[in-house]
């Protein structure tokens, strides 16, 4: 695209646009992306023609969507091979099949830029200042070793790292605590704002629980912990968001904890948990909830499949994805945290029907 769909959005406040206006702006941008991908992605073109979707529509509800799982089966891209700058892969914990997302240089740049804008807004709200913060990753340094093919975790870390300085990895490559690194970090930065980042379950299992067992804790004076990843594994051991936050504070001191929701198929446009515990899509993205059986759009408060819009994807047709995550819209424009627009909750994954096809005798 000669002129980028996203360009006018950089100037907008991240959470300052009321839902009605946001829908108009996004719908228009999505229409442009639909037409773009129709032209440059044969698979997407086939889908639209075959299913009978319209490319230019008036509302969210009519927006064509791609099943997110298809990124695990097909290589969906709207750029030619020589333009591909980076490939992102989902971490694929439970299955070996991973999503493959193809980025050209421009798309990669846009993702970083948007992520930075969203996070800087949060830093401002937390009065952490505008300069780069010392950063502690609850990860092992190996995670970003291969620079050509990133896992979602690696990509998340890479995307965030340019917002910080003094990048420190809290874990060794065998996932044990790197005491020397952590002690060094705390010694240097205990009394200034710090950013801590990791994946929910990893933070719990390899950091919080280990510190607890060793009877060790730190007291940061002003920290921000960002974490993402599902709650499924933690629910299994009866740890909820509240308990998680509580334990983080016991272990690390005055640290405010924010979960965020995002997927590798739409890297950049993450929805961050607000002070009231709800997820807020930034101005670049939004959600819609659909009934998994009828595909009809659900009302506020009703659970269903999460459809995610993002106006970032220009190198692959990921602007409107129907995920297999279940969620519910909580409200619009009226969250107590003051952010405008819709806000929502993720309930979990749609319980997967077991595939007991012929070819599974040994894939267990």
């Amino acid at each position: 695209m000669s002129k980028f769909v996203i360009d006018p959005f950089y100037k907008l406040p991240v959470y300052g646009i009321a839902q009605e206006e946001k829908e108009c702006l996004l719908n228009d941008a999505l229409n442009q992306l639909n037409n773009h991908h129709y032209k440059y992605c044969q698979n997407y073109n086939n889908l639209i023609d075959s299913i009978g979707f319209s490319l230019t529509v008036d509302t969210y509800v009519e927006q064509p969507y791609v099943m997110a799982r298809l990124f695990k089966i097909l290589e969906l891209k709207s750029v030619v091979a020589k333009e591909i700058f980076k490939q992102l892969n989902s971490s694929g914990t439970s299955s070996q099949v991973v999503s493959k997302i193809f980025l050209n240089a421009q798309a990669a740049k846009v993702q970083s830029k948007v992520l930075a804008k969203i996070l800087l807004d949060l830093f401002e709200r937390k009065q952490l200042g505008k300069q780069r913060l010392p950063m502690l990753f609850i990860e092992a340094p190996d995670i970003i070793k291969n620079r050509n093919s990133f896992s979602a975790r690696g990509a998340g870390i890479q995307g965030l790292s340019f917002l910080g300085r003094n990048h420190t990895y809290a874990l060794n490559n065998d996932m044990t605590l790197n005491h020397k690194a952590i002690d060094g970090f705390i010694e240097q930065f205990q009394y200034e704002p710090v950013l801590i980042f990791g994946f929910t379950f990893m933070i719990w299992k390899y950091f919080i629980e280990v510190l607890k067992k060793k009877n060790k804790n730190y007291s940061f004076e002003q920290g921000l912990l960002l974490h993402s990843g599902g709650w499924k594994k933690l629910q299994a051991i009866a740890v909820d968001n509240q308990e998680f936050k509580h334990q983080v504070k016991l272990a690390l001191g005055n640290v405010s904890v924010h979960n965020f929701y995002g997927m590798v198929e739409q890297t950049g446009t993450i929805s961050i948990e607000c002070e009231a515990g709800y997820l807020h899509p930034p101005v670049f993205s939004d959600i819609l909830i659909r009934d998994p059986l009828t595909l009809k759009v659900k009302k506020t408060g009703e659970e269903g499949l999460i459809q995610l819009f993002s106006i970032l994807p220009e190198s692959y047709p990921g602007q409107s994805l129907l995920t297999e995550d279940m969620g519910q819209v909580i409200g619009r424009d009226d969250c107590v945290c003051g952010r405008k627009g819709q806000y929502f909750k993720v309930v979990g994954r749609l319980a997967q029907a077991e595939n007991r096809g012929c070819s599974d005798t040994f894939s267990e």
Partner: protein, 392 residues
């Protein structure tokens, strides 16, 4: 686990020899049949009842007389190692019991993905095996469940006389990495796909459409449409005009059955949606008719890759043909069962002999798709599980 297996194998040579259709093996099958067909607690498990019916005394007698009337003398091959599938809960039992009746000793690896019916069947079998009557059978037959383990699979492959691999293709490839004895053999069941063939003219004039719909419903929805013999494609045969008419009449009637039975699973609906979009993206022109528990997708041809992606659970490709020769746009060497209505057996036989309807291993009337038979995937299993002695 490996130790336990080795101990079992070590004892096999000191056990008394076994023979085809031994009195004990017949009695075991009959006792099992009786429990499966009469225990009211097992009623909800239709596939267990079906297994019980298959093992009924008159059918066992039929199998025995077929076996004994074979011209050459059939003797047991020895030890059979079965790797059984998880998609059909009773499949391990058919595989095992045919081999048992043919006089073999057996080690059966069960899928840990099996459903409730498998559990129930297993505990029923276990109870029987533990009775004093069947000591001999217990000594010569071992049912095991183990996670993917190269050491165990390798060991069992190296000592068995027959290795039975219920696919799919990936499992076959994987298991074939483990060598078997030069005198041993593999019986493999690859990924297979099945379809239904309806004579449109016949549908239009049928007075028994509701009955036909019920039978077809059973063919599709048993085992979540994931068995090799579950129809995944429905081919309408006739003139364009009669195909069009028959479809309208049939689906009007069939629709009445939808939504009545168990609630369609959200996950199944999403799987079907993913598959439909995948088909569309790969360039198939779709004409979809969607109900939560049935997706009908009109197609003009099917690439062989798509069959493997077919998720079952109520997803039906549909096509129309005027001549049998058009069928090869859909079928391939991986095809198994043709479930038919409106044709005579002789007519279909004739077509096969004329070189049409190639690659199809099994023709059954609608409603019988899931019935297991001892000739399966083109193999007479009683012969496969035997060595044959000839005399001249």
């Amino acid at each position: 686990m490996l130790e336990k297996i080795k101990q079992f194998v070590g004892n096999l040579s000191i056990n008394k020899p076994v023979f085809p259709f031994s009195a004990k093996s017949i009695q075991f099958c009959q006792d099992l049949s009786k429990i499966l067909t009469t225990d009211t607690k097992l009623r909800p498990y239709q596939d267990l009842v079906a297994l019980g019916y298959w093992l009924r005394p008159s059918h066992l007698k039929q199998l025995q007389s077929d076996f004994e009337n074979k011209e050459a003398i059939h003797q047991p091959r020895g030890l059979a190692f079965h790797i059984t599938p998880g998609n059909v809960d009773t499949m391990f039992a058919y595989s095992w019991l045919i081999s048992l009746l043919a006089g073999n000793k057996n080690i059966v690896r069960l899928s840990s993905k099996g459903g409730e019916a498998q559990q129930v069947l297993l505990s029923t079998i276990e109870k029987l095996l533990n009775s004093a009557d069947f000591v001999n059978i217990r000594q010569n037959n071992l049912l095991i469940m183990y996670e993917h383990n190269d050491e165990i699979s390798g060991y069992l492959s190296s000592i068995c006389d027959t290795r039975v691999i219920w696919g799919g293709d990936d499992t076959i490839k994987k298991i074939r990495q483990f060598p078997i004895l030069a005198t041993s053999k593999d019986i493999v069941f690859a990924d297979r796909f099945s379809f239904a063939l309806f004579n449109s003219e016949n549908i239009i004039n049928s007075a028994e459409l509701p009955k036909l719909c019920q039978l077809f419903y059973r063919d599709i929805y048993t085992f979540g449409q994931q068995a090799c013999s579950s129809p995944r494609l429905l081919v309408w045969y006739g003139s364009n005009d009669s195909n069009r008419q028959a479809k309208i009449l049939f689906w009007m009637e069939f629709k009445k059955l939808l939504g009545q039975s168990s609630k369609p699973l959200a996950a199944a609906a999403v799987n079907k949606l993913v598959h439909s979009q995948l088909m569309a993206m790969m360039g198939n022109k779709l004409n979809m008719k969607l109900f939560p528990d049935l997706y009908r997708i009109n197609i003009n041809e099917v690439s062989s890759d798509l069959w493997k992606q077919h998720c079952g659970e109520g997803l039906l490709y549909e096509a129309e043909i005027n001549h049998f020769s058009e069928l090869n746009k859909f079928t391939n060497t991986s095809f198994q069962t043709c479930t038919y209505t409106g044709f005579s057996r002789e007519q279909l036989k004739q077509e096969v002999q004329n070189g049409e309807l190639q690659h199809i291993l099994r023709f059954v009337p609608v409603g019988h798709a899931l019935n297991f038979e001892s000739v399966w995937d083109g193999m007479d299993l009683f012969s496969e599980f035997s060595v044959i002695s000839t005399f001249s």
